[in-house]
C-alpha cells in the first residue's frame, strides 16, 4: 500500500466476478470512475483499489474453515479496512449473490465496515434477478452496519446498451461521493467507536487492533476483583 496523504480518499472495489473481462468488474469500474470524477469536481483527491475475489478464492475457502484469513486475503482485508468508500459487485449465478462474495464477507470482522459508505451492485443473466441486491446485499451490509447508498446498481444483459444504466451509475456515484466527501464515516466510527463490539486482534480502521478495555467487568475479575 502506498503512502497516501491524509486528504486523499480511497475507494475500494470488491468484485466477485471471476471471468476476465468480468461484467461485475466493468460495472464496478464505471461506478468508481464516476465517483472519482464527482470527488475531484468537489476538489477531493481520490484513488481506487480493487479486490478481485477470484484469485483469492482458495484463501477465502481456507479462512472459512480455519477462521483466520492469511496471505493475500489478509492484505486485501486490510486494504478494505482502510476504505473511505466501497463498491461491492457480485454476479448472480443461482438466484442469489455469489457464494464467493458471501464467503468473503463471512470472514470479515463484524466491525470492519462500520459506517463505511457502500454502493451495492450486481450483474445477472436475466432481469428477473433484479431484487437480489435489495433482498440479499442490503441485509448483509446492514449487518455490517455500513452505509449503503440509496441507489444500488443492477445490470442484466439488456441494461448494458441502455442509457438508463448510465444514469443509475451517475446517481449511485453522486450518492457515494457525497457520503465519502462528507466525512460521515469518520465521524460515526471515531466518536462512536466504543459503542460497538470489537474483537481482540480486529483489523478495522481506527482500531488499535490489540487495545484492551482494562476497565471492563471481566477485566476487574481477572485482576482478583469481584
Amino acid at each position: 500500500m502506498t503512502e497516501l496523504d491524509s486528504e486523499t480518499r480511497r475507494l475500494v472495489i470488491v468484485n466477485a466476478g471471476t471471468s476476465d473481462p468480468s461484467s461485475s468488474r466493468m460495472l464496478a469500474d464505471r461506478i468508481a470512475g464516476k465517483t472519482i470524477d464527482r470527488l475531484n469536481a468537489d476538489g477531493i483527491h481520490a484513488i481506487v483499489q480493487t479486490i478481485d475475489l477470484g484469485p483469492l478464492a482458495g484463501e477465502v475457502g481456507h479462512a472459512i474453515v480455519s477462521g483466520t484469513p492469511e496471505g493475500a486475503l489478509a492484505e486485501a482485508i486490510l486494504s478494505l479496512a482502510g476504505a473511505d468508500g466501497v463498491i461491492a459487485t457480485t454476479p448472480v449465478y443461482k438466484g442469489g449473490m455469489s457464494g464467493l462474495f458471501k464467503s468473503f464477507v463471512d470472514v470479515l470482522d463484524n466491525d470492519l465496515l462500520i459506517a463505511t459508505p457502500v454502493v451495492l451492485a450486481a450483474t445477472a443473466g436475466s432481469a428477473r434477478h433484479a431484487l437480489v441486491i435489495d433482498d440479499q446485499l442490503r441485509p448483509l451490509f446492514a449487518f455490517m452496519r455500513s452505509l449503503p447508498t440509496p441507489t444500488s446498481v443492477f445490470a442484466a444483459p439488456e441494461d448494458w446498451g441502455d442509457p438508463a444504466l448510465g444514469k443509475r451509475i451517475d446517481r449511485a456515484a453522486l450518492e457515494l461521493s457525497a457520503l465519502v466527501g462528507s466525512g460521515i464515516a469518520a465521524k460515526i466510527s471515531t466518536e462512536g467507536w466504543k459503542n460497538y463490539q470489537h474483537g481482540w486482534g480486529g483489523v478495522a480502521a481506527g482500531q488499535d487492533a490489540y487495545a484492551v478495555d482494562l476497565g471492563s467487568d471481566l477485566m476487574r475479575i481477572a485482576a482478583g476483583g469481584r
Partner: protein, 396 residues
C-alpha cells in the same frame, strides 16, 4: 527451559490399519509414553481433560499420580484442566493431593476447553465460561494460600471457614499456567498473579498468538512481577520427525488426512509451511522451534503434541526417541546460547520453595485435633498463632 509433550487423550482409529485401540490399550500406552518421555530426557508430560468419547482423560490427577509413582524427574502437568466446569474446591483438593504424591513434580495449565456440551453436563452455562474461569481461579488461588477461606462469588456455594486439604506440599502451591488462544482477560489474570501463560500454538499461522503473549508480558511487568522478559511463557506445538524430511511427511500424511482438527483445504505441506506444525528432519524441527523463540522471545516451556489422530503407541515411542535424542539436546544448547541473561528460568517446585523460604525450612502443616469447624478459634493448623483467630465470616 523445559521441553516436553502434551496430549489430549484422543482414542482414534489408526487410518493405516483401521483398528481403534481400546480405552484400556490407550491408557496403558499413555503411561508408556509418559515413562518414555522421562527416559529420553524430556522434562514435562501433560495430559488434557475431557468428559466424552473418544477421549479417556476424565481424571487427570489419577493418571498423573500414577505416572509420578513410575518416574523420578518428569514434571507432570495438564493440557488443560477445566477451570470452568470443575469446582475450584475439588481442583484445590485433588491437585494438592497429586502434588504431594508427585513430590512437587506437578503443575497445572488452566483452560476453558473447547467442548461445548461439557458445560451443561456439569450444570454450567457456556455463556458464563470466561466469567467462570476467572472467578474460579480467584478462589483456587486463595484456597492454596490461606488455611481458612471465607468466600462468596457468582457461581458456587459460598464458603465460610473452609480449609482445603491437604495443604499444598511445603505450603507452596503448584505452579499455574493460564492457557488461552484468544482471550486477553485470561492473559490479564495470569499477569496479575504472576503466573505463567501458555498458548497452544496449534492450527494457526506462525506468530498468531504473539499479540496475546506480548499483552501478557506487558501486564506481568505492570503488576510488578518483573520485567517483560521475566514473564513465564509456555508454547505448544506439534512435531513429526524422521531422519529424512520426506519420510516424515509420508509418515504423518495418512494421520493428517484423517485428523478432524485440521482445515483440509490446505495440504500437509502448506500446514507445515504456514503454522507451527513441525514436520521433517530433526534439523527442520529444530529450526521451527528456534523460530518460535525469535518470534515470541525467550520462553520457559515448549510442549509438543506427539500422540494423536490414531498414531500407534509404537510410533509415538519412536518419535520420542528422535525428539529426545536428536532435537531437544540441540535445542537446549541453541536456545540457551540465544537466551537473554535476564530471561526467567522455568519455575519448578524447588525454585518456588527457594523463592518462598530461602534457606529456611518449608512449612509442614500439622492439623490440630478435630473440633468440628474452622469458624471458631484459630487456624486448624498447629503452627498458627493462638492469639490470632481465624478470620471469621462476615455475615451481612
Amino acid at each position: 527451559m523445559q521441553f516436553g509433550i502434551f496430549s489430549v487423550s484422543d482414542i482414534t482409529a489408526d487410518p493405516t490399519s483401521g483398528s481403534t485401540p481400546s480405552e484400556a490399550e490407550r491408557i496403558e500406552g499413555t503411561v508408556l509414553i509418559a515413562r518414555k518421555a522421562e527416559e529420553v530426557g524430556l522434562d514435562v508430560f501433560a495430559i488434557g481433560e475431557h468428559h466424552n468419547p473418544p477421549f479417556f482423560s476424565s481424571s487427570p490427577t489419577a493418571l498423573l499420580s500414577h505416572i509420578a509413582a513410575l518416574t523420578e524427574r518428569l514434571i507432570l502437568s495438564t493440557s488443560v484442566t477445566l477451570v470452568t466446569t470443575n469446582d475450584p474446591v475439588r481442583l484445590a483438593e485433588e491437585y494438592a493431593m497429586a502434588q504431594h504424591l508427585a513430590k512437587g513434580r506437578l503443575d497445572l495449565t488452566l483452560g476453558r476447553g473447547n467442548t461445548v456440551p461439557v458445560y451443561p453436563w456439569f450444570g454450567k452455562d457456556i455463556r458464563q465460561g470466561l466469567h467462570l474461569a476467572l472467578e474460579n481461579y480467584n478462589l483456587l488461588h486463595r484456597l492454596w494460600r490461606e488455611d481458612v477461606v471465607d468466600w462468596e462469588g457468582q457461581f458456587r456455594t459460598a464458603l465460610q471457614g473452609f480449609t482445603s486439604t491437604p495443604r499444598p506440599l511445603d505450603d507452596v502451591p503448584p505452579f499455574i499456567w493460564h492457557g488461552s488462544i484468544r482471550t486477553p482477560e485470561i492473559a490479564e489474570q495470569a499477569a496479575y498473579y504472576g503466573n505463567g501463560f501458555f498458548a497452544n500454538n496449534l492450527f494457526a499461522p506462525i506468530g498468531h498468538f504473539k499479540p496475546l503473549v506480548e499483552f501478557y508480558r506487558q501486564r506481568f511487568e505492570h503488576y510488578g512481577h518483573g520485567t517483560q522478559e521475566q514473564a513465564i511463557v509456555g508454547l505448544g506445538g506439534q512435531a513429526f520427525i524422521a531422519k529424512r524430511s520426506q519420510d516424515a511427511f509420508d509418515g504423518l500424511r495418512p494421520y493428517f488426512a484423517k485428523a478432524p482438527v485440521y482445515d483440509h483445504s490446505l495440504t500437509l505441506e502448506q500446514w507445515a509451511e504456514r503454522s507451527p506444525l513441525a514436520v521433517g528432519s530433526p534439523q527442520q524441527v529444530i529450526d521451527k522451534t528456534l523460530e518460535q523463540q525469535e518470534i515470541f522471545g525467550d520462553y520457559q516451556r515448549q510442549l509438543w503434541i506427539m500422540d494423536h489422530s490414531g498414531l500407534p503407541t509404537k510410533t509415538v515411542l519412536e518419535q520420542l526417541d528422535l525428539l529426545g535424542e536428536e532435537v531437544v539436546p540441540v535445542l537446549r544448547t541453541e536456545m540457551a546460547a540465544r537466551r537473554s541473561p535476564g530471561a526467567a528460568e522455568a519455575p519448578t517446585h524447588g525454585s518456588l520453595v527457594r523463592a518462598k523460604y530461602g534457606d529456611g525450612e518449608p512449612r509442614q502443616p500439622r492439623p490440630n485435633a478435630n473440633r468440628g469447624d474452622n469458624v471458631t478459634g484459630t487456624s486448624p493448623y498447629q503452627d498458627s498463632d493462638p492469639s490470632q483467630p481465624a478470620r471469621h465470616p462476615v455475615f451481612q
